[in-house]
């Protein structure tokens, strides 16, 4: 096109390229055809700059045609609407409440499903409150002879516990085709054939919807689904150990399902396994709004599970609806179209592009909390106390795989909140000399708020207890003591304070034990420090890391003076298994090596992909490795069980990946897990943590600190690590958002004419060159003619 433009500028008015081409006939001796492959049509006397300007004008009109910011990525119709805009990076794998176990999936389904319990939005420490239930269930305890026991009974005497849950009457499901009925009350879409499914590829293609009241059956049905052989719930193994009869029920369903599917080929839709026909003792309906769950022994943590989507209600009609032949082939499944009673319903599910939650028109409404923790009233968090939520009509999650566009769109006001990646940290946050984080001036100018909270997660360096050098289960007492001193020396040498500063922009606090802040059992301040690694600094409450000399002394006591085995004289080489291996990770791997070199120990880093890494850890074929754990629920049991002997990963496939074994610790754990929070439980936890600090099966890593940025128009936001259903309490000031978006996104137009001008100017040298060439040829011809 550029050539076309340049040539047109240079041709004389009476001359066109097409004419020139036509005027020449191919010589007869040429052996190729002269059919032009690409014909350049240049109408005479056409001004080529004209179309360019016209094109630019059309472009400008198109971009700004609607009178909005040109870079607004949202449809015109959404302007000023009460819509929360957010982003997600990874597509959710499961939206079925019986399967979903990941945080990024929970942000969707937690707004749709209503488990019986939930976490208080504002109170800290995390507090369970009723969700769809009328009140918190008080477990009743029974002994083996079915005799009731007092609430304070010791866990060892309890044969089973009964949780009786009463749900609020009048709760209704969001509109869904599974509930649609005809005039005679007969379901419209529960016995569809191929003709009935014709033209239906989305849930929206079913014109009729219906609803019904939530009943206790729906909760029991979902508990049964945990045992469904084709649902593959990740918690079936765990719940099978607790809910009475669930394991046997799963086996029964598997046998029944095999019988039903017999004779069907792999391509056929599986026959529907109707769970309403199979009952079991662990979950029973008492009346329309009451159901019971029977749990083996005393398991106080069970209440926390009742706040997770695994125990949310699923209506049997929906399961039947989605199980019809042809539905799965059309991607119409419970996995992708959740049906619940919560404040929102998922109306658009395109995990490659966007997910849309729409206000459930039948939601009963939920009052915004009237109390919180100290400071909440002053910060305006209680301004909406008592008002009925949700406050936002629609939530649009757009998929942003890359952090740069995501961050820029937040800055332009097109996302209402954002996390902070390492790349953007310096432009968003300034860390003061005493370590406190504050917004950068630019962020403050834009009225953006920073909210931080320590995640209920622990990131640690584990020693494999089964390893002969660093482990604690092999060899004699002397060898075990040597290994312990070695682990202690490494615990001091690996400086996680420095790690947090270098690799996490200071976003984390060094671990003092397995329990993160915000969980009962965590001790704050100097009394909570790990005395093996830290010591008090003078008379005040400050603490400092112990000197590396202490680590060297411990290493010498372990028999590795100066990093050499005193018995063999060989240098001590330790092995770290990791999955990080890219060029961007080199600095991190170098840092690991330097930490060990500090005490004269050589570190051999063995990198592998995630699969092989997991396999090594699972089989116990490692010496040291990094792992992390994110809390399922805010109870110390959920962290201390990671070091409980019977949970050994290598021996029993459990979550104790370090394979730590300590009979006394195990005994205390079994006692602690059944205790109610209080001084007695704290004392037991203190003993357990002290034991762990001394044994040092992990280097206690760090607990990450989450940073979130929120625009001024988004209010009622308080990070809650446990509650994922908080979006119902968010509030938007859409007028302010529109005003700020317009202010921040003025289109800059001068580059467009400048670009056109440059394009035109760039043609000049070519034109001059071409003219010079043409003239030179003519002159030469004249000279030749004259000579003749």
């Amino acid at each position: 096109m550029l050539v076309q433009l340049l040539l047109q500028l240079s041709v004389r008015p009476d001359y066109s390229l097409r004419g020139a081409l036509r005027s020449r006939q191919p010589p007869p001796w040429c052996n190729f055809r002269y059919t032009p492959v690409m014909e350049f049509r240049l109408p005479k006397a056409q001004n080529p700059v004209g179309p360019c300007w016209a094109l630019a004008a059309v472009l400008l009109a198109f971009l700004g045609g609607c009178g909005r910011a040109w870079n607004d990525p949202y449809p015109v119709g959404e302007r000023g609407a009460n819509i929360l805009y957010s982003a997600f990076s990874d597509r959710p794998k499961h939206l079925d409440p019986a399967q979903s176990y990941a945080e990024d999936e929970n942000q969707f389904i937690a707004q749709v499903y209503e488990p019986p319990l939930q976490y208080h939005y504002l109170k800290r420490p995390f507090t369970l409150i009723p969700g769809a239930a009328t009140e918190l269930p008080r477990p009743r305890y029974f002994d083996a002879g079915n005799r009731p026991l007092p609430p304070t009974v010791d866990g060892e005497r309890v044969a089973y516990s009964v949780y009786e849950i009463h749900i609020l009457p009048g709760i209704r499901y969001a509109p869904h085709p599974a509930f649609a009925v005809d005039a005679a009350g007969k379901p419209l879409y529960l016995s569809l054939d191929a003709a009935g499914l014709r033209g239906k590829y989305r849930l929206l293609d079913f014109p009729a919807t219906g609803s019904r009241e939530l009943t206790a059956d729906d909760y029991v049905y979902e508990i049964k689904r945990l045992a469904h052989p084709r649902v593959n719930s990740p918690i079936l193994g765990l719940m099978g150990d607790y809910i009475l009869g669930l394991k046997d029920y799963a086996a029964r369903l598997a046998a029944e399902d095999s019988r039903l599917q017999a004779g069907r080929s792999r391509g056929d839709s599986p026959a529907f396994l109707d769970l309403t026909q199979y009952d079991f003792e662990g979950a029973k309906v008492v009346d329309r709004h009451t159901y019971q769950i029977r749990v083996k022994g005393k398991y106080p943590q069970f209440a926390y599970w009742l706040a997770m989507p695994f125990f949310a209600p699923v209506p049997p009609e929906a399961d039947r609806f989605y199980s019809q032949p042809g539905m799965a082939e059309r991607n119409i499944t419970l996995e992708w179209y959740p049906v619940g009673t919560g404040p929102y319903m998922l109306t658009e599910n395109d995990p490659n592009s966007r997910m849309v939650l729409q206000r459930n028109p039948l939601f009963r409404g939920e009052a915004y909390p009237a109390e919180g923790e100290p400071g909440d009233r002053e910060s305006g968090m209680l301004a909406d106390a008592g008002k009925m939520a949700p406050f936002i009509d629609r939530i649009v999650f757009s998929r942003e795989k890359e952090s740069i566009p995501r961050w820029n769109k937040f800055r332009q006001g097109y996302y209402d909140s954002s996390g902070i990646s390492s790349d953007n940290f310096d432009s968003a946050v300034q860390v003061g000399s005493s370590g406190e984080a504050a917004l950068s001036p630019e962020m403050e100018r834009r009225g953006i708020r920073l909210e931080t909270s320590v995640a209920t997660s622990s990131y640690y360096l584990a020693f494999n207890w089964l390893d002969a050098v660093v482990g604690g289960s092999s060899g004699d007492a002397v060898q075990r003591e040597r290994a312990k001193k070695l682990r202690q020396a490494i615990s001091i040498a690996v400086d996680f304070d420095e790690y947090i500063s270098i690799f996490a922009n200071g976003r984390g606090i060094p671990g003092q034990g397995p329990i993160p802040p915000g969980i009962f059992g965590f001790r704050d301040g100097p009394e909570g420090i790990n005395p093996l690694v830290y010591e008090r600094d003078g008379g005040n409450n400050a603490v400092k890391r112990r000197s590396i000399d202490v680590a060297k002394r411990l290493l010498a006591e372990a028999g590795y003076s100066g990093g050499r085995d005193v018995r063999t004289g060989q240098p001590l080489v330790l092995y770290l298994d990791t999955t990080i291996r890219g060029p961007e990770d080199k600095s991190r791997l170098d840092w690991y090596r330097r930490q060990f070199e500090g005490i004269g120990v050589q570190l051999d880093i063995r990198t592998s992909d995630w699969n092989r890494f997991q396999e090594k850890v699972r089989k116990g074929n490692t010496q040291m490795f990094f792992l992390g754990w994110n809390a399922d629920y805010p109870d110390p049991e959920n962290f201390l069980f990671l070091l409980y002997g019977p949970n050994s990963g290598a021996k029993n496939g459990g979550e104790n990946k370090a394979n730590y074994q300590n009979a006394e610790f195990d005994r205390l754990f079994e006692r602690m897990k059944n205790m109610d929070n209080g001084p007695e439980r704290q004392a037991v936890i203190d003993r357990m943590v002290a034991m762990l600090r001394d044994d040092a099966p992990w280097v206690w890593g760090f607990h990450p600190r989450d940073y979130g940025l929120y625009h001024a128009w988004l209010s009622n936001v308080k990070p809650n690590q446990m509650a994922r259903n908080s979006l119902k309490f968010y509030r938007l000031d859409t007028d302010l958002r529109e005003q700020k978006r317009a202010e921040w996104n003025h289109p800059v137009l001068w580059p467009i004419p400048l670009f056109m001008l440059l394009l035109a100017l760039s043609a000049l040298p070519a034109w001059r060159n071409w003219r010079a060439r043409e003239e030179r040829t003519a002159q030469s011809a004249r000279e030749l003619g004259g000579a003749a």
Binding site: Y34, V37, M38, P73, N745, P751
Partner: protein, 325 residues
């Protein structure tokens, strides 16, 4: 020609079997069915029974290539490879591990990919050929020299730079178009302008330089000297003779890529939030979703073979001397 095409199609079947075999071998060399199950079921609290059930549901409980437990031919046919491959050759791609129908996913996602790739392809071809012709037309002048310098400079810069730079300048500083996102229908133009521009600029250096080389090679041919000797204008020589004959090598590279336009661009789509096919394979590899990986490799192979066949056919259209034998 028909016999030639039939013969090539038969070769294609053999190639596809080979590609399928290598895909199976490579995938399961890196991932085991247990790994795949763990990836799908999550890494927390996964029980061995759940893994076994997951494998059985999806047929991953069978041996890969040889079933020692089966009798006769079933030892070879009752395997993961044969079972999955037969479905594939019937163009039945089945469901991804997350339950979504692969064929539906591909047909949904290929349109945004095509909406981006087609303008870049067509406009790119015009712009690159035009720019290359310009350099060749003004060969051995400072225009050619600086054109080549520009091309070398542009091809030395990472494609990522153009994307990030384009987003920074056009979408962030000048606020002319959305930074990322996509909308179906006519509104998609707002979102595609910048990625198309970036695609054009990003490919200009290498393509224009390559086409310039082709043009210069043609310019030095005898027939060009003859055309000039009989008095044809330079523009006529270029546009009527050189351009036509240079199209043969250009077609080699161009036609083969036409079918692959459906497959999308990984980085561009990722940065601009275009819900195309570009990242489908990579995401599937990361998620250890074998169903998607084998389907995409298979489709990619089919399209590539189709592209090569189209190239051969197009040769005869631009150069009658070429005949199928």
């Amino acid at each position: 020609m028909t016999a030639y095409i039939v013969r090539r199609c038969l070769y294609a079947v053999l190639i596809l079997i080979g590609v399928n075999l290598i895909t199976f071998w490579l995938f399961f060399k890196v991932n085991t069915p247990d790994d795949m199950a763990r990836m799908q079921l999550g890494n927390k609290r996964v029980a061995a029974e759940a893994i076994n059930r997951w494998k059985a549901d999806r047929g991953y409980d069978k041996p890969l290539f040889y079933n020692a437990g089966a009798q006769g031919a079933a030892a070879l046919t009752d395997t993961l490879y044969v079972g999955k491959s037969l479905e594939m050759f019937r163009f039945e791609f089945g469901a991804a591990d997350d339950g979504r129908d692969i064929a539906h996913e591909i047909t949904t996602r290929m349109w945004p990919s095509l909406a981006l790739a087609l303008p870049v392809f067509i406009l790119g071809l015009a712009v690159y050929i035009a720019f290359a012709l310009l350099m060749a037309f003004f060969r051995a002048t400072y225009i050619d020299f600086w054109g080549v310098v520009l091309c070398v400079a542009m091809m030395s810069i990472s494609g990522l730079f153009y994307i990030i730079g384009g987003q920074y300048l056009v979408a962030k500083i000048w606020a002319l178009v959305p930074i990322s996102g996509y909308a179906p229908g006519f509104d998609s133009a707002r979102f595609l302008m910048l990625p198309v521009l970036v695609g054009l600029v990003g490919g200009l250096g290498s393509s224009a330089r390559w086409y310039r080389t082709i043009f210069l090679e043609e310019v030095s041919r005898d027939y060009v000297r003859t055309a000039r000797a009989k008095g044809l204008a330079e523009t006529t020589v270029f546009f009527r003779h050189v351009l036509k004959n240079a199209m043969i090598p250009i077609l080699t590279g161009v036609v083969v890529s036409i079918p692959l336009l459906f497959m999308g661009s990984l980085i561009t789509e990722s940065f601009f939030g275009i819900p195309g096919l570009g990242s489908y394979t990579i995401e599937a590899i990361q998620a250890q979703d074998f169903g998607v990986v084998r389907a995409m490799v298979f489709i990619g192979s089919v399209l590539y073979i189709a592209g090569l066949l189209l190239t051969d056919i197009s040769y005869t259209l631009v150069d009658p001397r070429v005949r199928f034998e």
